[in-house]
Subunit: 235 residues, 2 copies
């Protein structure tokens, strides 16, 4: 039987780790793809490497792209990452948005899929927690899939490329419960946009806020090392 | 009157230089975007810089991305660039094809357009000379435009993003004649996939072959310095 290959975008966070576990459960031989885009939370690249190894990826590819040249985001520029600011019903695009990030990441994944002869690309995009990001919506994923099948030889020849975003409409608590069921070691994952040099999570950026409340709602122990006792006991 | 901004993908070749001249003629304040993707013909980045300066771009952004990590192309890998091999009616995808390159380049341009508040992205893609490249066809450009308007805040809010590919159905000779009319200094452009360390064009790769026959058909003097006398006098 021929090996079915997939590319999984792996950032090192909860969502991409859970997406990787789903791809593995579907029987794919997975090449994990991480993008080193000049993010200030570079510790996530180490997390991705550890997850790819532990979760049995056939290969882990790390592509450097310097998005600091484009700018426009607190994640790549010397702009302060907002703290204690997250509101779930906020429809504004946050300053941590990286312009066209998912478009760029999926494009790189598409190139890798062509080289690896993979037909499935997995991304942990989620429409609920990041409702302000245009490139985390179902319409974006569907349109990128259409593009992938116009842009590549395989697609043009009718051997369809699929963009799988299995977490798209799940809440963070649902994702964490599913990840726990699939045996993910969440201690290997990292979410913080602004960690200390020692790798401790700040506990107060949007990403930490979503992660912490997600673990609480899911009833799963959060193994994250936050920087202060205060942050460690949010209730 | 508000400045109308555009992003122009500028590789340093004839097509992108002509595309830049068209964008300038349309009255745009242009930010030129070059991508340093680990190409072996890195001299084109110097050509792009010289063209952006001479042709009055407001800014020239150079984004490094290491596509060698993906591989699969003679332009980034240590695979020999084919010589004396080009046949215009060949529908096979050549080994110099870089997987998903135009998708990746347009994605980066889209991110820059968001930051610069530009609504027009120009690319010198051409369907005739590179008929084997899926991402040089009109359907690809149209689908990417659809994606751009789903992926970005501006697009979602109805302030449409346009992908302009003005050379799409032109022959190389037509492009060269138009470029000459628009006053492009072709001596600043470079096309060779495999130049010498001194920057001389090989004269025999697909890109040199297309360039040379294009100048001959257009009846325009080719100012290129080719590596041998033989190459310099192809007739």
């Amino acid at each position: 039987m021929t090996e079915r290959r997939a590319i999984v975008l792996l950032s090192g966070g909860i969502d991409s780790a859970t997406t990787l576990a789903i791809a593995k459960r579907q029987g794919f031989a997975v090449t994990a793809l991480s993008v080193d885009y000049g993010q200030r939370h570079r510790i996530e690249l180490l997390a991705a490497k550890a997850l790819a190894e532990k979760m049995g990826c056939r290969r882990h590819v790390n592509v450097p792209i310097d998005l600091r040249q484009i700018g426009g985001s607190a994640l790549t520029d010397s702009i302060d990452v907002p703290k204690d600011h997250y509101r779930p019903d906020d429809k504004e695009i946050p300053i941590t948005y990286v312009p066209a990030r998912n478009t760029i990441f999926l494009s790189i994944a598409l190139g890798l899929a062509e080289v690896e002869n993979a037909r499935d690309i997995f991304i942990g995009a989620n429409a609920l927690d990041y409702s302000g990001y245009p490139d985390c919506r179902p319409a974006f994923i569907e349109t990128f899939e259409t593009l992938a099948n116009v842009a590549t030889k395989a697609g043009v020849e009718g051997d369809a490329i699929r963009i799988q975003a299995p977490l798209l409409t799940m809440t963070k608590a649902e994702i964490i419960r599913l990840g726990a069921e699939l045996g993910i070691d969440f201690a290997l994952t990292t979410s913080c946009y602004d960690p200390t040099t020692d790798g401790l999570a700040c506990g107060h950026c949007d990403s930490c806020t979503i992660r912490r409340s997600g673990f609480i709602s899911a009833g799963v122990v959060d193994p994250t090392c936050y920087v202060t006792e205060k942050a460690r006991s949010p209730r």
